[in-house]
């Protein structure tokens, strides 16, 4: 239904979309997730022609959207959009919001359009509010009206641009329930969302976007349970991390400790955890210290908000070897201390990088 090929979008020097290729088939529900500023909304707005892409192509039912000869307004009437900020027409009552498009654009009679509008208001549970004005409704009600307004145009696909981001947490579920119902009824939808559980339940496919492209895509199980790529994993597990490169034996331990303390404070980690994390950092740097000139290390502290796991990752060139097996210092005191503080230690090599992962038990006592 929608085919996107090598789509790119730049604002001056800033590249928002680098190279996006994807396909959305009829009847599919595609969730688009990813960190802020990675082009999710821009992608959606390009699909509807609200933004003009810098390159690539978009075909909707075989019509080339970027061809100036195509009637983009005709395409838009079958591909409606729900916005984060609702964007209801504030000078029109709820029912008039629903009937304006069908009457003016599809040539329906007033009676026909109103009958259909009442059905749709019933569907979203707002038949009582038909004669109210948008500013008399709550956020959740406004967004449901906006969805009904889209449906009134009988679209083939609906694009949702963060439909719940502007809502009070108590109103999120009423809007999601309506979208779930549409998904059950087989409506084709593309949804940019930060509601992970919802994306997982409702979609057939998930696009994880990062660095201006679709970084990884797959079924909800693939993306949420076995993500193949590190960034995807970090995102779906809501991993917060701090990475520093240490490349000289004369590193500033105190300033590094201060940074890690600040990071822990931001994640609201208990003091007992910090008391184990900081010695672990100190000892792990101790064992690689003599080699730091030749083999600098990337030190990462990672905390998953979802699972509560706290990890220290020490990464360096694989040829330098596994530090825990061959520490570069003669005595094994540091290695023993590390084993005391860490719940588990894993070593792996990939792409020429050796990676040591120390996990700290965040659940039980030390």
């Amino acid at each position: 239904m929608i085919r996107i090929e090598h789509l790119s979008k730049r604002y001056g020097d800033v590249t928002v979309l680098a190279d996006v290729s994807a396909e959305i088939r009829s009847g599919e529900v595609v969730s688009i997730i990813g960190p802020s500023g990675t082009g999710k909304s821009t992608l959606l707005r390009c699909l509807n022609g609200l933004e003009t892409p810098s390159g690539g192509s978009i075909h909707v039912d075989g019509i080339d959207l970027l061809d100036p000869r195509s009637d983009i307004d005709q395409v838009r009437r079958t591909m409606n959009m729900v916005f984060q900020s609702f964007n209801l027409f504030s000078h029109l009552s709820v029912i008039d919001n629903l009937t304006l498009g069908p009457i003016k654009l599809k040539g329906l009679s007033r009676a026909q359009a109103q009958a259909r509008a009442r059905e749709l208001l019933d569907l979203v549970g707002l038949s009582q509010k038909a004669d109210h004005l948008p500013d008399e409704l709550s956020g959740g009600q406004k967004q449901r009206v906006a969805i009904a307004r889209c449906l009134a145009m009988d679209p083939k696909i609906i694009l949702f641009d963060e439909p719940t981001s502007a809502l009070d947490p108590t109103m999120v579920s009423e809007v999601l329930a309506v979208i779930r119902k549409l998904a059950r009824d087989g409506m084709t939808m593309a949804i940019v969302t930060h509601e992970m559980a919802f994306a997982r339940d409702v979609s057939n496919r998930v696009f994880y976007m990062d660095e201006g492209r679709i970084y990884e895509q797959g079924s909800p199980q693939e993306i949420f349970e076995q993500p193949k790529l590190e960034k995807t994993r970090a995102f779906v597990n809501r991993i917060r991390s701090l990475t520093r490169r240490i490349d000289t034996p004369g590193y500033d331990l105190y300033s590094l400790n201060a940074e890690i303390e600040a990071f822990c404070a931001r994640q609201i980690l208990p003091q007992s955890l910090r008391d184990r994390l900081l010695p672990l950092v100190e000892e792990s740097l101790q064992i690689c210290r003599p080699q730091l000139d030749r083999a600098p290390v990337d030190l990462t502290v990672a905390y998953s908000e979802k699972t509560g796991d706290l990890e220290l990752i020490v990464e360096r060139a694989a040829e330098a070897g596994n530090l825990m097996e061959n520490p570069s210092v003669p005595d094994d005191l540091s290695v023993r201390l590390i084993r005391h503080y860490a719940q588990s230690v894993q070593y792996s090599e990939a792409a020429g990088r050796g990676r040591l992962v120390f996990r700290i038990d965040t659940h039980g006592a030390p």
Partner: protein, 517 residues
Amino acid sequence: MIAARLLLSILMMLAAAHAGRAIAQSGGAVKPMSETALIASPEDLKDKRIAVLLGSAQASEATKRWPGATVLQFGSPTDMVLAIKTGKADAALSDGQPLKDILRQDPSLAILPQPLHRIPVGVGFNKENPALLTAFNAFLASIKRDGTYADMIDRWIEKGVYAMPELGPQPSGQVLTVGVSDGGMPFGGVVNNRWVGFDIEMAQRFANSQGKSLKIVSLEFGSLIAALVTGKVDLIAASIFITDERKQRINFSDPYFEETTVLLALRTRLAGQALKEGPKAGSGNWLARIKSSVRDNLLTENRYLLIWDGLKTTVLISILATALGTVLGALTCWMRMSKRGLLRLPAIGFISLLRGIPVLVLLLILYYVVFASVDINPVLVSVIAFALNFAAYSAEIFRAGIQGLDRGQAEAGIAMGFGRLRTFWYITLPQTIQRVLPVYKGEFISLVKMTSIVGYIAVQDLTKASDIIRSRTFDAFFPLLLAAALYFLIAWALLQAINLLERRTDPHWRRQRGRTA
């Protein structure tokens, strides 16, 4: 050169207008009126406040002859007389004939028995049209020969019969435009809503003799020469003194009368004047006073017709200028908001230029400069001037209204497939109207009130009508209050129409009405 001098005279007129229609030429503090210093001869004026008619021969004479005096220039003889009566000036220098009436009506005023001087008066012609001057001189000679002239002098000046004789049907030929000024009877004034007087009859007879139809344009005395030079009128007849100064600008006909200059003052301020007991204007109780005011200002000579015509003109100019100005303003706003410099920059220039020019100056520039050589109805010039002014302000009002709107709604319209034009029409425009109406109303009200200056280009609007009545009744109070009340009513009535529109565009009001219906 001519343009520069013209502009200068326009500016002087403006200055006069802004100083409450009077300017003090020799500066200095306003001197308190001393009751003891009676005026016995013209020389006593040397340190007094002298009222003169703007642009008159007396005005330039007073400035030269009494450098120590304060010369106050007024736009009409009425204002001059009112200034004397209210003590704003000590004495006035005026043409002698028009004062006869005033002196009869008002015993509190008197003149020095000896006129200051006698000067012949003539009809003024454009220097570029000597043929018309020759024709007029021939006409003047012929009416002097056949006794018509003597008859006119007898009726208008000796007997004071202020009625036009039957002169037969107006010829339907070419139009002869005559500039006149309400200098007062016997030479020119409005009676029964018609221009009458010696000058008017003479002009009518001249037009008839030429087979032309006469068109009378009423101007401030000070604007007569400017109007003649710019071709707005073919000749000017307003008992104008033939002076060397004026001869440099225009041609004069042979003299048709010898007019005196007299010194007018309150009777109590003149030496050797016994207080005469006469009918007091302000006698009787207040009800009787109001009755007599209504009678004098509205009923006598059908003066209410002047008010009624002026009212219609004011409303017409207000409505047309608002309508045209709104359309122009919308266009300017569209250009101003365009991304293309070719459209945006002219719009920015237009807005800042028009907002920086007083609308009176704009009006005079349009009338005397832009449309100088075009025969254009001054009402139309007024509509254009106020529309341009209104456009500049309303363009910015509209822009603020559109820019203050929530962008998202227009985006939703575009995303639905409305396209730019229909999105504007169905979504942006209704919301903009609703938002800008309160400010727009204020702008409209000020336009209605600003139209009171159109009298400067000979449009007879409500203000001008009240001026003309004042020139006949010398009553400041009633005509001015009546004009104020009528302006208030016009503004109020027109505002109700906009309020209705405002309510119709307010969704809350519509909804409320839907509930009760």
